[in-house]
């Protein structure tokens, strides 16, 4: 990424953002005043098992045109009104990222407008800040592919804690599949687990692994599946125990980051943000530290194009433009490696 100009102050601009890091293909349109004009999304639903990257990429290629046109219709704008094209440059699944990047490059080249590569994780935080009004939060970003606690410190979003192995959403998802839960209406299995957990009573002893500010969920997953397969406990009890352990771990790590940074805001985002039990736990911690707890609205908490569009605006206004020949996707682009010149 290169800085072509110090600051680009376009009075009014529309940015179209393309999201395609995993199973969702999203096209969002944001305006520089913070309005989200469109947030069209098409999700790939695997016939069985988890996300197959190549299959997901094929899905994205198939729906790209439709989703793009849908976004324009909802936003009531024409292609010529678009000032810049932003896309999820990483982190994510290679084939999926490349599909989105190809669409973005094509649009930018055809419309002869700038292209902006956006860090997907940072987009989650930025849309959260826009939608909830927080300015400098400790953020827990928990989804199918990510579990990290970040906060802004000296020029970058720093990672204070993260999973050492699998992500929280992944843990719930795999558990759900292993115990035979079926997805309903494209909802992640975490939603089904949440419902079952409400009826759980017995707290089964499972691994609780916090290492410094990091955590590990793979042992917990294996152990929860094993406990269920042994047949001694009801599925409700295992779901309850799994949630209590996993959420306590992420909450503990988030609390450590909050105490360490002494920030006064907490933000929860990512697909798992929809879970009410997790919200309650984090809220309790925020209250104890006198911090304000915020959850990103569901449609902006899961992967979406609007967050990419909005982050594209922030980046573009601070001179970030990605030349097409440097627009390679970055599969493992960490938040702490991305410039965020719009924050001071």
């Amino acid at each position: 990424m290169v800085n072509t100009q110090k600051t680009l102050l376009t009075d009014d601009m529309y940015c179209l953002g393309i999201e395609s890091t995993a199973d969702d293909f999203g096209v969002g349109i944001a305006r520089s005043n913070g309005e989200i004009l469109a947030n069209a999304i098409e999700s790939y639903v695997p016939l069985e098992g988890g996300i197959h990257p190549r299959e997901a990429a094929r899905h994205h290629a198939e729906v790209a045109n439709k989703t793009f046109l849908q976004a324009l219709t909802i936003a009531k704008i024409k292609p010529k009104d678009i000032t810049a094209i932003a896309f999820s440059m990483g982190p994510g699944l290679g084939p999926c990222l490349r599909t989105g990047a190809t669409v973005a490059r094509t649009l930018a080249a055809y419309l002869q407008i700038p292209l902006i590569g956006v860090n997907h994780s940072i987009a989650h935080i930025e849309i959260g800040k826009l939608e909830t009004g927080v300015t400098d939060p400790v953020t827990l970003y928990a989804s199918g592919g990510n579990t990290m606690v970040t906060a802004f410190e000296s020029k970058r979003y720093r990672v204070f804690g993260e999973t050492l192995d699998i992500a929280l959403g992944n843990c719930l998802d795999v558990f759900g599949r292993q115990v035979g839960l079926k997805s309903q209406k494209g909802l992640p299995l975490g939603a089904a687990i949440e419902q079952l957990a409400l009826r759980g009573k017995a707290l089964i002893k499972l691994p609780y692994v916090v290492k410094g500010m990091d955590l590990s969920l793979s042992g917990l997953l294996t152990s929860a599946v094993t406990q269920f397969q042994r047949g001694k406990y009801s599925l409700e009890d295992v779901c309850y125990s799994l949630q209590e352990h996993a959420f306590s771990m992420v909450t503990e790590v988030t609390e450590r980051a909050l105490a360490h940074t002494e920030k006064s805001e907490m933000l929860l985002t990512g697909g798992v943000a929809a879970n009410k039990r997790l919200q309650v736990m984090l809220n309790a911690v925020a209250e104890e530290h006198g911090a304000k707890f915020n959850v990103v609205p569901k449609k902006f908490a899961t992967d979406n194009g609007a967050m990419i569009a909005w982050t594209g605006i922030l980046a573009y206004r601070h001179g970030i433009v990605t030349p097409i020949d440097e627009s390679y996707v970055k599969l493992r682009w960490r938040v702490d490696r991305a410039d965020v010149p719009w924050i001071n």
Partner: protein
Amino acid sequence: MDKLEQPVLLKKGAEANLYLTSWHGKKAVIKSRKQKKYRPEALDMQIRSYRTAHEAQLLHQAKISGVKTPLVYMVNVAEASIIMEYIQGVQVKQYINTVSKGERERICLKIGQLIGKLHRENLIHGDLTTSNMILDEQGTNFLVDFGLGEKNVELEAKGVDLHLLKRALQSTHFTFWEECFKAILSGYSSILGDKFTEKVYEKTREIERRGRYVEERRQ
């Protein structure tokens, strides 16, 4: 026995509160692990009492390994509290931000040696950060906060210990973390030898590669 003075809150941490008190006329600290309302009581009690008991044991074992830690005066597992020696001094976290490059390197070398001594006895600190290191008035480096520690012979545990320290340096001392970590490794190897240090650090790298979105992981 002296009467315990009314404890004064020293620091409100994420996990525990520290209170200043006196113990037989000496300044002492009460480390009290707070009840966490967000998690179920049974789980909470299990975590707090386990960490309290472990911390007390490890503080003691660390001393035997040659690492200075506060003296433990009393442990109350049921209430998840420990009364221990008060160390008058400054956190390394603050100290290394204010000193010269040379002094920073000296301190980091020393830190590496302390970790090496712990690891030589298979003692894992579990939460190595510069806030958990205190320099007393004589310049002696104390390690505190062993609540997440354990005794573990596996290479993995030592690798994680170094990984956590590296991560803590990266997020807290981002401008000079690399030179600090380098000095720490060289202090570590002065205790455990180059070969073993390379083995542990290779493990650390492996642990990091396991994580998501690590650039050096093969793509």
